[in-house]
Symmetry: C2
Subunit: 150 residues, 2 copies
Amino acid sequence: MSPVRNPPAASTAADGDWRARLRARGYRLTPQRQFVLDAVQALEHATPDEIFAHVRERSAGVNLSTVYRTLELLEEIGLVTHTHLSHGAPTYHSATVKQHVHLVCRACQQVAEVEPEVFAPLVQRLHADKGFTTDVQHLTVFGICQECAS
Amino acid sequence: MSPVRNPPAASTAADGDWRARLRARGYRLTPQRQFVLDAVQALEHATPDEIFAHVRERSAGVNLSTVYRTLELLEEIGLVTHTHLSHGAPTYHSATVKQHVHLVCRACQQVAEVEPEVFAPLVQRLHADKGFTTDVQHLTVFGICQECAS
DNA sequence: CTACTTGCAAACTCTTTGCACCATA
DNA sequence: TATGGTGCAAAGAGTTTGCAAGTAG
C-alpha cells in the first residue's frame, strides 16, 4: 500500500457498526475502505469517478480499482446502494441516510428527491397484485421538472 | 452499402407512418433502417447487441455502428424508446406498442410488465406535489419477484 | 505469520467517431 | 447528381481482472 495518509477519523454514528460488519464477515478494516465510505457519505449521489476524485484529494495512494472493489464490497454488506440516474455512470449513496427516491429531469438533468412515503400506495399495490417487493431505494423516476415544463 | 438482402416487407400498420416521419425530417429510407425498426418491434426489450444479432440473421451487410446510429435516429423521431433494465445495456422497444412499466427482479433478473394505469395515482401526486411530469414509459421498478421472495 | 488487500497495468465491454465510398431521392 | 447514410477501423468511456507486493489481525 503506497502513501496513504492518516485515515479519516470515525465520523458517523454508525461507524462502529460498519467496522463490526466488516469484521463479522472476515473482511479487514483498511484506510482505503474508510476513505471510500467517507466519500460516499460526504458526496451523496456520486459516481465512482467522483468518489475517486474526492478520495484522491485526501490520499494520493488510493487506486481507482480499489474504489470499484470497495464500492462493491460496501454494497454487499449493505452500507451503500447505487442507482442509475443517467445513461452512463451509476451513483452511489450511503444506505444509512434517510431513504429517498430520485426524480430526474430529462431536459435539464436536474435531480430532485422525494420522500419514499409517496410511493407507499404503489408499493402496496405491486405487492398485492403481483407479489412484487419493490426496492424503493433503487427507484428512479424520469420525466420533466416544473421549470422545464413551462 | 454492402450485401444487404431484400429489405423486409412493410409489416406494421404504422409502417407508412414511419416512412413519412423520416421523409418529413429530410431523412432517407434505407433497408438498414427498416431492418432495425423491424428487429425492435419483433424482439421487445432488446439491447443494441441483440438487435444487431437479429438484423444480422437477415442481412449480412449491416454494421453494429449503423444499429446504434439508427436507434438514436428512431428514438429522436419517436418510433422507439429505451429503458435501463439492468446494469449495462439499455433495452429498446417500439413506441407504437402499448405502454407498460417494467418490474425487474434483482434476484432472478426476470422482467415483468405492468399496465401503466397502476402508476396513475403516483403520477398525479408527483405532478401535484412537485410539478413533475413523469415519463412512465421510461420507468423501471427494481425489487424481488414473488418466486424469489419465498 | 497468513490471508486478505492493494496498486498497477492490461484486458474487456459497450458506444462513438472520422473518413472514404455508396445509394436514395 | 447531390447529399445523406453506411461500413470499417480506431478511439473513448467505464469497469474488471491477474498478479506480485504490502499489511491488518
